[in-house]
Amino acid sequence: MSAPSPSFVLVRTAATSTPYRVRSSPSAIAAAAATVIDVAPSAQRQGEPTLFAIPASLRGVWAPESPAWSVQLKPLESKGVSASFSSDGRHIVLNGPSTAAVRQAVQQLTFAAGRLQEKQPLTHFLSLPLQHPELVDKLSAWMDGVEAKGIDGEVLVKPAKFHVTLGVLSLVTPEAVEQATQLMQTIGAEVYDTLQTRTCLVKVGGLRLMTNAKEEKKNNWADMMEEDARKEPPPPQQTPRRDEPTPDRAHVVYFDVVEADGSGRFRAMCGKQHPDDLIRIYLCL
């Protein structure tokens, strides 16, 4: 069974040097957090703290004395868990009276971090510019024709901004921007390898209507706490979105972009292609 690429927060315990990746979907967090704390008892016996890695986008948001952090600190302290920041500001150092208390603290922080990240504005995105001069000219001409057929010009994308989006990011602190910028520099060689050092040619064409995806019902904190973290989390409930677009009531219309030689290199570089019924509207820019 192949899982979709999850987003992670890193949780590390003092007992091991390897960070644990905790998936940030709330239902999956409980299970993963349990795995982390399962190794914690030895650390607890030695009086070693548990380290919670602060996601890059929350560094500076969760900081000593920050309002967002004091909201988190109070419930921790009420359970006898002490929490302080590592000197580099990248981890929260947790010490608790029991394994269960630390485990609960990690769950609280993991869940809160996920929620906080969801609220932050999207600032950046990973894009593949489709800006070959000939393509831009052809697209401009195509758009003139479409406008002549009654499509309102203000809903048309500017040809100079024609692109494929690979992902969206929320980089609200200078540290997060720096981390993402550095990552771009380090993945260059790997991208070359994945493309086998050959040009990546794509075919652009085939007009399609973007349809909505089904939304996962979000678990709340109370639901999560009730869940037995060791059990497989239940499948998320699916609720259809309102106002499903139809050709005559469209919101997003796009051209397909497919690899020209069918070698699979393009997909290996960008991401798994998913069936059309799973198309997600929020990736449309």
């Binding site: 794509v202 399609r208 051209f255 397909d256 020209a260 198309i279």
Partner: protein, 91 residues
């Protein structure tokens, strides 16, 4: 060989939003969120004619030149494309 390399690397560092949601590779040409005057909700467009007309329309084959870490806002680059923090040139 790693599948979905770029997204994977960003997700690993907790930098990718919506990372566990599927990606559909596409190039948007119409988006009603670009409307300047937003009333109650987004006003849809009737695209039924053009969807039929251009279902097989091809623009041709083009080389991908780079991956950008693009900015949603702020000044565009000289060509009018989104400004960027960093970019990776492709072979």
């Amino acid at each position: 060989m790693s599948v979905d390399l770029v997204r994977k690397r960003f997700a690993e560092q907790g930098l990718l939003r919506e990372a566990d949601r599927p990606l559909k590779i596409h190039a948007t040409v119409i988006n009603t969120s670009h409307r300047k005057h937003r009333g109650q909700g987004r006003l849809p467009v009737d695209a039924s004619e053009i969807l039929q007309l251009y279902a097989s329309h091809q623009f041709g084959t083009y080389r991908l030149e780079s991956v950008h870490l693009s900015k949603f806002s702020g000044p565009t680059d000289l060509s009018g494309y989104y400004g960027h923090e960093a970019l990776v040139h492709l072979p």
